[in-house]
């Protein structure tokens, strides 16, 4: 072959190679993102900042229904309820205190029903499959064709309740089987109760807890009143009257015999868990949200949570502290707030007036006077600062804390959680939880696997 011929072939081969490369680059097949399944967004549950439990004081603050917490509806005043013990000297919790067992119509609302019907229809997990098989053909048909309406909802609700309650009674046996509950996260109370091999009403309650653990989204557990006795591993702290005042059930009593209200649970816990309490007072234990800047900084607009409520309290001077703050306002500011109607265009002016008054107070000597703060629950941090000998060095901080204590609804600051927001005082093990999705490559692989499974 001549030199010219070789050159021609080489040029032709190069041209072909470049053409193929050009086609390859210009086509979308190069773009890997096009074929890759999108990474699913993280469930917003993992962004939730709320605590595990709502404390009694939270309920009081939220103006919730407290009728369930009135001890003397059932008990007699000044007569300590008797305690009963089993053969192993474990306390027997009264049936009324171990929480509900059977599901009622109040437990299965529209959302719960829709979620449960969907899970039963799919019956892709062992418990849903078990429930689905326990239904008659006509019941299965009704649920399979279920569409929310007044008539069908009532029937579907009855079917779901009856199926769940059958599990709870379960011929006097625990519904738990390792294979059935594989992959289900059991709550701290459930685990603790299972270890106690309960019988009777406690067993029915255990089955209900198991059902609730199996359907955490569909049947959320909102109760606070379940008592599973498990305070302390040695069993010596399971006596009710170690913490509750036996002659006045509305009070708590720490080790030193003081009487404490339910708002002061931290002090009760601290009477035994001293080092933890010390850390908590210093802010080094437990959950907290709000502001790290607890010091001598003035109030800012972010910290007024309820301007309308604050203005209302000030202009009506409904308590001594409100009256005091009102006096610190200048006349034009008082006139502005007196005529303030939310939502109003002068909200900004009203907010500025309130902020200026509050910040003027911060620069004054301690505003604490026993009469002025009578009936106001002071936080442990405030009390601790007031007891310090070098109070003058922390006047601004002290006045801030006092104002925050006096206006807990209206001013937001450090939202220190108390012990019972995270720990169940009757079943202290910290609840385990499902971890949030891992780092990016793992999630990408998981998304691809899910996509491939769906294709199959």
């Amino acid at each position: 072959m001549t030199a010219n011929g070789k050159t021609g072939i080489t040029v032709a081969a190069l041209c072909a190679a470049f053409s193929v490369l050009a086609v390859f680059f210009l086509s979308d097949s190069r773009d890997g993102r096009g074929n890759r399944p999108a990474i699913p967004l993280v469930d917003t549950n993992f962004l939730d900042t709320s605590t595990t439990r709502q404390s009694y004081s939270d309920l009081v603050r939220a103006k919730a229904d407290l009728s369930d917490f009135d001890c003397y509806v059932c008990h007699e005043k000044k007569s300590p309820p008797p305690l009963r013990f089993d053969a192993n000297l474990n306390i027997i919790v009264a049936e009324e205190h171990i929480g509900p067992s059977k599901f009622t119509k109040d437990d299965i609302g529209t959302n719960e029903l829709a979620g449960m019907v969907e899970r039963l229809r799919r019956h892709s997990d062992p418990i849903s499959a078990f429930l689905w098989q326990s239904l008659s053909n006509s019941q299965q048909l009704l649920l399979a064709n279920y569409k929310p309406s007044e008539e069908t909802s009532k029937e579907a609700q009855e079917i779901v309740i009856s199926a769940l309650n059958n599990i709870i009674t379960n011929r006097g046996q625990s519904f738990y089987e390792p294979g059935r509950f594989k992959g289900i996260l059991l709550g701290a109370e459930t685990t603790l109760l299972m270890q106690q091999n309960p019988t009777g009403p406690a067993l029915a309650h255990l089955n209900r807890l198991l059902v609730e653990d199996a359907y955490p989204v569909e049947l959320p557990r909102n109760r606070q009143d379940d008592i599973v006795m498990g305070h302390g591993k040695h069993g010596r702290n399971n006596n009710c009257y170690n913490c509750h005042n036996e002659t006045n059930l509305t009070l708590l009593q720490p080790r030193d015999g003081r009487d404490l209200t339910f708002a002061d649970t931290a002090q009760l816990c601290g009477s035994c868990h001293g080092p933890t309490y010390r850390d908590w007072v210093a802010g080094a234990h437990g959950r907290i949200s709000g502001y790290w800047d607890r010091g001598s900084s003035p109030f800012s607009e972010d910290e007024i949570r309820d301007l309308a409520g604050l203005v209302d309290r000030l202009r009506h001077q409904s308590d001594p502290v409100s009256g005091y703050v009102w006096e610190q306002l200048l006349r034009p500011e008082q006139a502005l707030l007196a005529n303030y109607q939310p939502p109003a265009s002068n909200s900004k002016e009203a907010q500025d007036a309130v902020l200026q008054a509050l910040n003027r107070i911060l620069g004054k000597p301690s505003i604490y006077q026993p009469d002025r703060f009578k009936g106001i629950s002071l936080s442990p941090e405030t009390t601790s600062l007031m007891q310090q000998s070098e109070q003058d060095a922390h006047l601004v901080r002290l006045n801030r804390l006092l104002l925050e204590d006096a206006f807990p609804q209206e001013l937001t600051r450090n939202q220190r959680k108390v012990c019972v927001n995270c720990h169940n005082p009757h079943a202290p093990p910290f609840p385990s939880r499902k971890p949030a999705p891992g780092p990016h490559p793992l999630r990408e692989i998981a998304a691809m696997a899910e996509s491939q499974a769906a294709q199959k």
């Binding site: 050009a22 680059f25 993102r33 499902k434």
Partner: protein, 318 residues
């Protein structure tokens, strides 16, 4: 003497201008292929859809900007974000507070490895969701060991905490002696007076030297255009903090500058269900971090032998 006549040629005689049919075809094929290949190589340019505006191109260095310059820049960023996400953000340039030096303390006894901090951080700081950029990595370590080689950050059990393990979240350690700052060729990253090492995303050239220099793998690079759903945008933004980033720039944890410089706790701290994270001003003797460093006996600075002197302390309850 007469020369014999030359035999008639079978090939046509070249035209007067010297270009034959064959050479024309050959040249045109080569040229066409070359042009196609060149067009293909330039194709990535078509994917660039955020050419810098003249304002951004002429923007001054952060430390040289006057308040008026910064006001214009913040307005520009707000306009850009609004155009892209359909929501007007509130972008601020928060300055360090006097007498404040931030320190983070993490209680390894309390951490349960739930990774809620990871995702609260992603949500707060407008990080890309696809590919997902996370500033915090939670390492799972066997009990009794601090050997990072034994750490696993892809753990995925049914529930946490697991027996026999403890968890160690790692993020930017906000070093006092940050190697990432030293290597930046354009001074796009620096340490502020309150101890936070920040990045000016408009000044970063994406060379990734800082990523290589960081011993904690705390810096992340935007290899692709960040993808952030509109409904998950956090409109409370800071210039040196969580404003949306572009492709080709570095980013990292900045202690939620948009929150902490306004006196608030970082997002990872607020979401922690176990209260393992503590944050505050080390110059305030009454802050919780001062209390922890004074009263807790065991605390470690990760890879302290590197001489980075982190402002992030790990401790145990003792």
């Amino acid at each position: 003497m007469n020369q014999p006549p030359s035999p008639p040629s079978s090939t046509p005689a070249p035209p007067a201008n010297g270009i034959g049919r064959r050479s024309f075809l050959r040249t045109s094929v080569v040229l066409t292929t070359g042009l196609a290949a060149m067009a293909a190589s330039l194709k990535p340019l078509l994917e660039i859809n955020d050419f810098p505006t003249m304002q951004r191109f002429l923007q001054k260095y952060y430390k040289e900007m006057t308040p008026e310059d910064m006001a214009k820049v913040l307005k520009r960023i707000e306009n850009e974000v609004e155009a892209q996400y359909g929501m007007r953000p509130h972008v601020r340039d928060l300055k360090p507070m006097d007498g404040v030096e931030f320190v983070y303390c993490l209680n390894l006894t309390r951490c349960i490895g739930c990774r809620k901090c990871v995702h609260a951080c992603v949500a707060e700081n407008n990080q890309s969701r696809d590919p997902e950029i996370q500033y915090i990595r939670v390492l799972r370590l066997p009990d009794g060991s601090l050997d990072i080689d034994k750490a696993d950050h892809f753990y995925a059990p049914e529930s946490v905490p697991e027996k026999g393990y403890f968890y160690m979240p790692v993020q930017c350690q906000q070093c006092k002696n940050p190697p990432c700052v030293k290597v930046c060729p354009v001074h796009a990253t620096w340490q502020e007076a309150d101890g936070i090492t920040v990045i000016d995303y408009d000044w970063c050239i994406g060379c990734r030297y800082c990523e290589a220099a960081c011993p904690y793998w705390a810096r992340r690079f935007n290899f692709t255009k960040p993808s952030l759903p509109k409904e998950r945008l956090n409109p409370d933004m800071a210039y040196l903090g969580n404003r949306p980033r572009r492709q080709g720039v570095m980013e990292k944890c900045h202690f939620c500058i948009q929150r902490t410089r306004a006196g608030r706790y970082p997002a990872c701290l607020e979401v922690c269900p176990a209260g393992a994270r503590k944050f505050g001003n080390i110059l305030d003797p009454d802050s919780e971090v001062s209390y922890i460093l004074k009263s807790k006996r065991v605390f470690i600075q990760l890879k302290s032998e590197m001489g980075t002197s982190p402002r992030f302390f790990y401790y145990f309850d003792v």
